[in-house]
Symmetry: none
Amino acid sequence: MLTVSQQKVYDFIQKFVKEHQHAPTMAEIAKGIGITSRGVVHRYVAAIAQEGLINIIPGHRRNIQLLSPSNCLPLKGRIAAGSPIEAITDNETLDIVNIFLGKNRYALKVKGDSMIEEGIFDGDIVVCEHCEDAADGKIVVALVDNQEATLKRIKYNSDHTITLIPANQKLKPMTYPEDRIAIQGIYIGLLRFEG
Amino acid sequence: MLTVSQQKVYDFIQKFVKEHQHAPTMAEIAKGIGITSRGVVHRYVAAIAQEGLINIIPGHRRNIQLLSPSNCLPLKGRIAAGSPIEAITDNETLDIVNIFLGKNRYALKVKGDSMIEEGIFDGDIVVCEHCEDAADGKIVVALVDNQEATLKRIKYNSDHTITLIPANQKLKPMTYPEDRIAIQGIYIGLLRFEG
DNA sequence: AGTATAGAGAACAAAGTGAGATCATGCAAA
DNA sequence: TTTGCATGATCTCACTTTGTTCTCTATACT
């Protein structure tokens, strides 16, 4: 719940964005609501962000994003077996566009059960980001001998080999010399839906 | 997220392309936005490319391609253990906004392992659609005795009872008289991502 | 007294902006 | 083919703007 001043700031931001197509600076907000201190504005903006009405990217200018309900799902709470839904106090929302879309991102449909213990099932869509390097322990799309592409967890060994570890007890980790493996992307997340 | 200057450059490029059918040079952009340094323009253009709004072909003149921003992820193909990525011939895309957003949709964070065999893990986000009825066999958010909300598969029995079936061998299905169960929504899909 | 709200303003680090030099290279004219 | 210019690419320097974090003060209310 916003205080009176916070509401004034929020209203001003909305008006400003509508007029200018971009967010105001702290100083502009301060002037707009009739105070002089950028620090105070910052405090208000942080509070509004806490309420889930805006999103801020720390450190950047004009860093306030109004969370348009059109791209956001309300995050209602936590659900667990045998307990009521824990209400989430902040009005959290999920901006799914922001989460999954980005430069060099792409989707792959999963076939097979090799990552089933990570909850990656046959038919799921994994979202990946194209890149050629990955940190140890990440799930990657790896190309072996320029032929076989698989989704596995990667482990770098000290003897210049790479082990690709499936998440399925029935399958064995495989180790290759590092020059036989090319990383095609790293796993970002997962989508699953009917149809 | 573009800065104000970057936005000016992007707007100028769009206007220029519309007028001339080809991209402007760095110098033309510089003149267009009122600065003199080509180097600065290059920095802006690189930033816009980083955002994925344009594409640049390094080294060539008038090398900027406008990309249409969208809510779609390219669906590159199928990935399976031990086989190459099956390329999908059509440039299929996934409109993730369309898939998950909709009237009366909301998200819940999953706590616990009661649906683990369906690949719904602790920490996952399930997307649900609010409704009061669900077809037999669907996964639903069910409220028991107006107290406990759980995510379970639903089964209607002929004796006016309802069985809620977890997807975890360790947990037992539970059967209730139908008046003790209220459906709060049906499961639409699942999101999982880092952070 | 204790708490919540509101504001001022200083100080700092980082982001953003711009100029201009320099090099490499494509492209078209000679 | 060669040459020369326009252009892209990269870099450094300087400067301004802005976000962020402080501390200090004041007021209202319980």
